[in-house]
Symmetry: C2
Subunit: 218 residues, 2 copies
DNA sequence: ACTTATTTTTAGACTAATCTAAAAATAAGT
DNA sequence: ACTTATTTTTAGATTAGTCTAAAAATAAGT
């Protein structure tokens, strides 16, 4: 697989639920920051290689083979992210561009040794699960903070939006993976939340609350 | 610079003495495992970008800019090699292919943090010096083992041939960077050497002796 | 110096990935 | 159901890097 093919496979994976859902050519083109005509060409090529299911005018989804390929790339991406944050002092908003490059390095040994070197991490710095060699991963039970109930304790386990702006916002407000929240007030007018965590209070907008995943375990 | 451009620059650097010497189109083509016509095209392109000095039919050399670019790539290549060997249990004959890919990852922060993480190593696993951010490196005084004198102690500081076959030969004979040698006999007939090291004797051919660098410090 | 051999360059064509513009299919609105 | 709008596909062109085959320049041999 070429670098570009890999990127399309990854894009299709993220667009439909793990690539199982059929997604439109336009959606693919948008995700790949290219034109629909280019997307069509590439989709045909991937179809020839049995990586996607494709019927003209009906959108694409990943075949079993395509899903495995996607998970492999994602495994590499997320392991590199852990490496960058834990070993090379990257912040969680700096890792994406570099991991995007590193995920295409081809070497079985490299990725398995890296996995071991990092102590077989299960989640990346954004809380997303890391697939194992066979493409299996635990998806933990999580909800968006916006749907949390009052008076209960929740743990931050991930973020939905991984844009630099959002991650920087979280950093300045000392919100990180593992942070424990209590929702002490829900404002009915704009659906903003007043949170209590680390012995501080903070009001967050609904927009923010919709982009933080919390576990319902506790 | 594209990946291919980087590879040509690196190739030209290694062919002429750090790219300063003019090398022929054919030599470049051979090093890049491509045809002379392709090499000509690329050389023209690099010339347009001021990375090489090129006069038709007269061969190429690197400009100051080109030399810096080459050293940058080599810096990355060698740092990654150290990482692979020291942290991910690669043997020195396994690192090349992967480092060849990793050297093209673009991120200033990545490479500088990696340098720090590895404790600013000065030499790679084959004994080759690692340039600093500005392209400076120590080239230590070294000679080939074939030119060593009898009854003196030499330290192995590098290898010339880095092929898998040769590195495996060294491994099976327990020759590594830092190994101390004494030449106890030179056979005039075929120029083979009888060595004493680690309390063992070994006869090596001239071919082998020409591919091991030893320091003349001690 | 003149012929032959080698090296290097040019010319034209190919592949992967992209683009624009136009055509075809599907979806939506009344 | 028929027109309009949107989406998707096709057709043809472009760029980076490569190739083969032929032409041009340089080097070598006598």
């Amino acid at each position: 697989m070429t670098l570009t093919e890999e990127n399309y496979i990854k894009g299709i994976y993220h667009l439909g639920k793990q690539g199982k859902e059929s997604v439109s050519t336009n959606a693919v083109a948008k995700a790949m920051k290219t034109k629909a005509s280019s997307a069509t060409d590439m989709i045909k090529k991937l179809s020839d290689k049995q990586l996607v299911n494709y019927v003209k005018y009906q959108g694409v989804s990943l075949t079993a083979q395509g899903q495995l390929a996607a998970k492999n790339i994602i495994r590499k991406h997320r392991l590199w992210e852990v490496f960058l944050v834990e070993k090379l002092n990257f912040t969680w908003d700096e890792v994406h561009d570099v991991a995007e490059q590193l995920e295409h390095i081809k070497s079985e040994k490299l990725i398995n040794e890296l996995d071991a070197f990092l102590n077989f991490p299960k989640y990346d710095p954004h809380g997303d699960p890391i697939p194992d060699k066979n493409g299996n991963f635990n998806s933990i039970d999580k909800i968006i903070l916006a749907n949390a109930e009052l008076k209960k304790i929740y743990k931050c386990v991930g973020v939905k939006d991984t844009s630099t702006d959002f991650l920087r916002y979280l950093d300045t407000n000392k919100i990180a993976l593992g942070t424990l929240f209590e929702v002490i007030h829900k404002e009915p007018f704009d659906n903003s939340l007043k949170l209590m965590y680390n012995n501080t209070e903070l009001v967050v907008s609904q927009h923010v609350a919709k982009n933080i995943f919390v576990s319902i375990e506790l």
